[in-house]
Symmetry: C2
Amino acid sequence: MSREKSIGIFDSGVGGLSVMREMIKLMPNENYIYLGDTARVPYGNKSPKAILQYSIENISFLLDHGIKLLVIACNTVCAYALDHLEKVFPIPIMGVIKTGFDSLIQNTKNYHVAILGTVNTLSSGIYQNLILNAYPNAKVHSVPCPLFVPLTEEGFLNHPLVDLTAKEYLEKLNLTNVDSVLLACTHYPLIYSSIRKVLSPSIQLVDPSKASAEGSLKLLKEKNLLSPSSSPKYQFYVTDNPERFKNVAEKFLGMPISRVDLKFI
Amino acid sequence: MSREKSIGIFDSGVGGLSVMREMIKLMPNENYIYLGDTARVPYGNKSPKAILQYSIENISFLLDHGIKLLVIACNTVCAYALDHLEKVFPIPIMGVIKTGFDSLIQNTKNYHVAILGTVNTLSSGIYQNLILNAYPNAKVHSVPCPLFVPLTEEGFLNHPLVDLTAKEYLEKLNLTNVDSVLLACTHYPLIYSSIRKVLSPSIQLVDPSKASAEGSLKLLKEKNLLSPSSSPKYQFYVTDNPERFKNVAEKFLGMPISRVDLKFI
């Protein structure tokens, strides 16, 4: 497998940009190819069967473009399909749930935590199980925030609408004693500041994007797959509305993007 | 075909309740069976192929339950699939686009209008074409409001979050000279008051639900299919989250609902 190949990043939409931003910071020499399934976002309330089918289609597309590592930057896909995808695709795969769990555990001191995620990710019980298996006395609040994904997909990042939605989901919760809140959906770091504002300053808000980037670096190093070049290429594909993706991506990554191509579904 | 059979109402989610409410007012003796595809909502940004496939599945389910009239209470489905569905299903079908168009034309005086709808309904050009074919000098503004569907599906009806979203979509528009604004998505009448508030009082806000109910009554009369009974039954099915649907439906229809059943997809 060639070290010159790209790192593939797959998400249901714009959420994977939060992981990509940290990966570019940490591995600026790498080539990246990003695929957002913006025609079928949100995945967070779809059936497991649909999630698996969409994931297989999208990952096959990335493999056809020649990638050396696949980052599945979508908690919902990881929760429902990662085991299966690891079996069928002959490529190193980096999921975001293990790093989310690790980040949370590194931050909490009292093991009294809250998980913000999609309905599907939370219903899967994957975070709750990981935490309670390792720390049986932990207390875990699950907080579904279903509107955060459509809001970020529609390009509302620093916006009063997002502030008000964050208030709606978080202000009335009784988070007494909770010391750490995990962003268990890659879309949520795009609206970090709105979420941060409504939480008590004593609570740590844990964004696992950096840990996911570090995990990817470790994996590439172990397999001797780090890129030798220093003129990286970025490719972006979406299944719908490339212009809107371009606007969000430029705003969030803080760099101009020359083109976003359409992958037909 | 039996007059005792139910009227079937199909929507992507809770939106069809706006039509059902008017139908119950107008035809209180009828039996109704409602199906909301809440697992796969919103349809408004899905591919035409997916919309057709989901519609066929859902309508087949309603037909299996024995219905005498099918109301497709979803503008997106009507825009992309009605022609095909009318060909394949052996049942009278009532769509909501023709009544939307008729309602708008009855209200406007200057033929300078705005259409609020999903991205898909507006992209289909169906309303624009109907209006411009009949009134070539009309001026038609298309205003996509993609967050309205997730908001209503999440149960935010009379809520500051909806007020703020309506402001975001409508306040900055230049609607000078527009005398009528059409709600071209059946979800939008559920948040009528939030939309009404941000429009100038001189603008008429046209909710075609009543016209859709009148159209259904006319069709049943013509075919001599009006129910002779006076102890109507209501059945509700959704593909996900029956509890949430029940809450929204009770709030919007203003009556208790004994059960909402799950249709597996």
